[in-house]
């Protein structure tokens, strides 16, 4: 017999699949309509399909832009009552071989893993000793505590790769999953990683 947790995961997974299918269906409808129109105007079925796809361009690129457009802005996140779940701050102090890291509030006791991740990814001097400040990211904390859909909303540094390193570190964090009315739900969170030179 399926346990309640398994059932919830199954329902969550089906919902996620539904959301992922929507852009395909929407764009598929558009292409089908364009092909029909091309055919009505006298093109052969092959030519009609080719013309519609050429006109549309890169479907994956459009889907990526749609996903990005669907993400809430930082302002919306901060003011949204459903997104209060966890606003985590990770402090990383970069010095001559010295590290300090405060774990994100609400994490499931996996600070050690987070610390190891950061040590592996963030090397003192990797930013040429030039960069300090904050990278602000958003992500969705899934029911298993993993972060998905990570997006850098305020960049600190692309030259030395601190943005990428921060996102890679965040991908390895594990959160306490969010809940609404005692039901576990995926939640949007903002995460600020602060890099300080010492």
């Amino acid at each position: 017999m399926l346990g309640i947790r398994t059932l919830r995961r199954l329902v969550g997974s089906l919902r996620r699949r539904g959301r992922e299918r929507d852009p395909d269906d929407e764009l598929g409808f558009h292409l089908a309509m364009r092909i029909e129109r091309n055919t009505r105007e006298g093109m052969t079925p092959d030519a009609a399909a080719r013309s519609a796809h050429t006109r549309f361009g890169d479907i994956e690129e459009v889907k990526t832009a749609m996903r990005k457009a669907n993400r809430p802005t930082l302002k919306q996140l901060l003011w949204s009552p459903t997104a209060i779940g966890a606003i985590a701050t990770l402090l990383v102090t970069v010095g001559a071989g010295m590290w300090f890291m405060g774990g994100p509030p609400g994490t499931g006791g996996d600070h050690a893993a987070a610390r190891r991740t950061a040590e592996a990814l963030l090397h003192p001097g990797s930013a040429g000793g030039q960069v300090q400040g904050a990278v602000i990211m958003t992500c969705v904390v899934q029911l298993d505590g993993a972060c998905t859909d990570i997006d850098v909303v305020e960049s600190l540094d692309t030259r030395y790769g601190l943005d990428n390193q921060a996102a890679e570190a965040l991908a390895k964090w594990r959160f306490e999953p969010g809940a609404r009315h005692d039901e576990p739900v995926p939640v949007w969170v903002t995460v600020e990683m602060i890099f300080t030179l010492r």
Partner: protein
Amino acid sequence: MGQRKRDHLQGALDLLLLRTLNTGGTMHGYGIAVRIEEVSREALRVEEGSLYPALHRMERVGWIEASWGRSDNQRRAKFYTITSGGQARLAEAQEDWTRLVAGVTRVLKFA
């Protein structure tokens, strides 16, 4: 492309989409694109790569609402409707556009 130019293009696209939905009622993305092409006598062509991200962005900020339904030919399609917030935004955007066009016209005439 500079940020300001992107903003102007995005503003113009928002204006076209909101206006089309305001007069056309509930429409799917393809219908909106075709309507803009036809009304502009094919002077304007909305690229699909801009159209759908714009619709999703406007849905997120509450200017339009979306729901799934069946098209005339019984295909599953996503339909959009303008909201009262979208109508308020449309009024502002139309004023901005009119001011911009008037300014450019004056420069072309008198500068």
